[in-house]
């Protein structure tokens, strides 16, 4: 699965994107956030305040309880400030 990070999430993770092999036990967005946060200090810092993180699967907004089924790309970012 391709992961993409934007704005301060990108800065804290230290990457714009990365490819991961999703463990079979990780089936939801919330599970993926937990798994990522446990990987290293940078991911842990990016996802420390889980409630502020917005998530898109295949470029569609989703909630944290959404299943990952079939998603090829997950993106993580702060609340949006365009316009």
């Amino acid at each position: 699965m391709q992961l993409r990070y934007f704005a301060w999430v990108r800065e804290r993770v230290g990457l714009e994107a990365e490819e991961i092999d999703l463990p079979e036990t990780v089936t939801t967005v919330a599970g993926l956030l937990d798994w990522l946060a446990a990987r290293d200090d940078a991911h842990a810092a990016a996802f420390a305040d889980r409630g502020t993180i917005r998530v898109a699967l295949d470029q569609m907004h989703v909630e944290h309880d959404a299943p990952l089924t079939g998603a090829r790309e997950a993106a993580f970012f702060p609340p949006m400030t365009g316009g």
Partner: protein, 176 residues
């Protein structure tokens, strides 16, 4: 007289998706006058044009520039989804939305919405709806660069923007 007189067959076509939607994400500036002319030229039954242009403030002289980051692909897709929803809710002839990214200095354009319809109310409301949803759902993030050379950090999302978007849930669609 009804405030929203019913119009003949054309509005069904619009509701069915006949509206002319154009969404562009670009680093370059835009010309609001040219966009109005293009959209009205292709919609002969237009009686109303509403435009909104969002500019970069100087924040009382504090700001040197904004850096607008975006999610390529999703930015276009999400704004198109919002524009399509607007065309479901209001009988529009067309919608043009342009959102810039990259470094933008105070006084420069950031975003443009042009809504055209047969009657004014649909165009006014659709333009406002577009902006309210765009602010909370379009994947853009602003970072401040300060005139004193400092990094002002990422702009925080405003709760009032979320409330502005949420209020549309209670607004019934306008009849053509």
């Amino acid at each position: 007289m009804s405030p929203h007189p019913s119009s003949p067959a054309g509005s069904d076509q619009t509701r069915a998706g006949g509206a002319d939607i154009s969404v562009r994400i670009q680093a370059e500036d835009f010309d609001a006058g040219r966009e109005i002319a293009a959209l009205t030229a292709s919609n002969g039954n237009t009686g109303a044009v509403v435009t909104f242009t969002g500019l970069c403030r100087d924040e009382d002289g504090r700001l040197a520039a904004l850096e607008l980051e975006h999610y390529p692909g999703m930015a276009e897709a999400e704004i198109t989804r919002i524009a399509e929803e607007a065309c479901q809710r209001w009988p529009l002839g067309g919608l043009t939305v342009i959102h810039r990214h990259g470094r933008i200095v105070p006084g420069a354009n950031i975003v443009l919405v042009v809504a055209v319809s047969r009657h004014r109310r649909a165009a006014f409301e659709a333009a406002e709806f577009l902006m309210d949803y765009l602010k909370t759902r379009a994947p853009f993030w602003k970072k401040e660069h300060l005139r004193d050379g400092g990094d002002g950090g990422w702009v925080d999302a405003r709760d009032s923007d979320t409330r502005d978007a949420d209020r549309w849930a209670a607004v019934p669609p306008v009849e053509p």
